[in-house]
Amino acid sequence: MENDATQKATDPKVVFCSPYESALSSLEIIATASLEAGKMSMEAGANAIGVETITQIFALGLGARLVELRIGYASLAITVGIDGASITCVRKVGDFRVNHRLIHALGNLGTRVAKGQLTAERTRSELGLLRGETPKYSAWITALAVGIACAAFGRLLGVDWRGVGPIALAAIIGQYVRQLLLRCHVNAFLCAAITSFISCVVAGLGARWAGSATITVAMISSILMLVPGVPAVNALRDILEGHPTLGNARAVTVVATLIFITAGLWLGNAAINEWHP
């Protein structure tokens, strides 16, 4: 008796479902694959129109006839439908990190899906591969590039040549620490404040040691990699392009980030004045 029960539990089940249930099952796969593409593009820094375009390309390419999308700051909701059957799915959106190569790869995958070259299941597995296989610059190369960029910013803001080296060094250290903190899933706002403090102290002390006459501007220049430029521009674009809720949410996040960055700068300035008045 017990053996019979075990046998039934391990046997592959043959489920007979109605055409409606079958349509719902395929719609669920289409909805989850499309939402995954939309979520990835949003986390990689696309604006609302970009997310909408990518999601629609995937959903229509996989066979949906009806696609409606709601884009929120922290979640995406999609309704897809075929032949009278429809399904709505919601997905949370994770941390935001600009990744242009991922957006580009998503666009290429979307083109293949739109041409009917991939099934829904294959699309889901390709999306999973994209997340892991999209090439990234190493942490040190990124930190070095950010250091040079901040030094160039310093010159644009009028820092003298003696202050340029300390800005680059401070930004390199700050960016490396920032990447470490983000990898440990530290809150993004706290991460901005901590990075700002470290960069500001290194730049301030370095510029003073090098004999720069523009110490304050050097300190500000060393934290400019933290300024949320992409979210700020996306916020305005989203508002202008008919997504005011998302745009406002982004704008509030930009302001909060700026406050945390400045808190770090302020504390760093106070610490330098305390140690070397």
């Binding site: 820094g45 957006i103 910013f153 521009v233 400045t262």
Partner: protein, 155 residues
């Protein structure tokens, strides 16, 4: 002559800053040169406009609009997304130092250690307003070309 040297420095620094931010945004190596070119164009145009007597807000708008328009038309030819190179190019114009000065000024007001509080409040507010207007000018300048040339299909 001094003006030309200053323009060259702005162009070079704009290109370096934009390419650096391109790496931060994980832009592909082929697109990095586009980021650098858009940064150089944006800073060069802004410097020229400032030289002609325009305000910083107006000059930033003209520079962002030009970069946005060029990238919008290059987009189908070069198979790259125009959003990130445009932002990377214009990011050197984002007034981060003004924002920092505005918030530091407002922080200082709350400590009560400021001599002339009214003067500090006016200065901090001026910086904050300039941040608001310049960021708005850059965002609008980048968005206008796609708003002009892309029509939304009525539902």
């Amino acid at each position: 002559m001094m003006g030309f040297a200053s323009l060259l420095q702005q162009i070079a620094c704009g290109a370096i800053a934009a390419a650096g931010f391109g790496v931060l945004f994980n832009v592909g190596s082929r697109t990095l040169s586009l980021c650098a070119a858009s940064g150089a164009t944006a800073l060069g145009l802004r410097t020229c406009c400032l030289g002609m007597g325009m305000s910083l807000e107006g000059a930033s708008f003209v520079a962002a609009l030009s970069v946005g328009a060029v990238l919008h038309f290059l987009h189908p030819l070069m198979d790259v997304s125009h959003n990130v190179p445009g932002v990377a190019g214009c990011i050197a114009m984002v007034p981060g130092s003004f924002a920092a000065k505005a918030i530091i000024g407002l922080f200082a007001l709350t400590t009560g250690s400021v001599g002339d509080e009214l003067d500090m409040l006016v200065t901090a507010t001026k910086y904050a307003l300039r941040v608001f207007f310049i960021t708005g000018a850059i965002g609008t300048g980048l968005a206008v070309p796609s708003l002009l040339f892309r029509r939304r299909v009525p539902q």
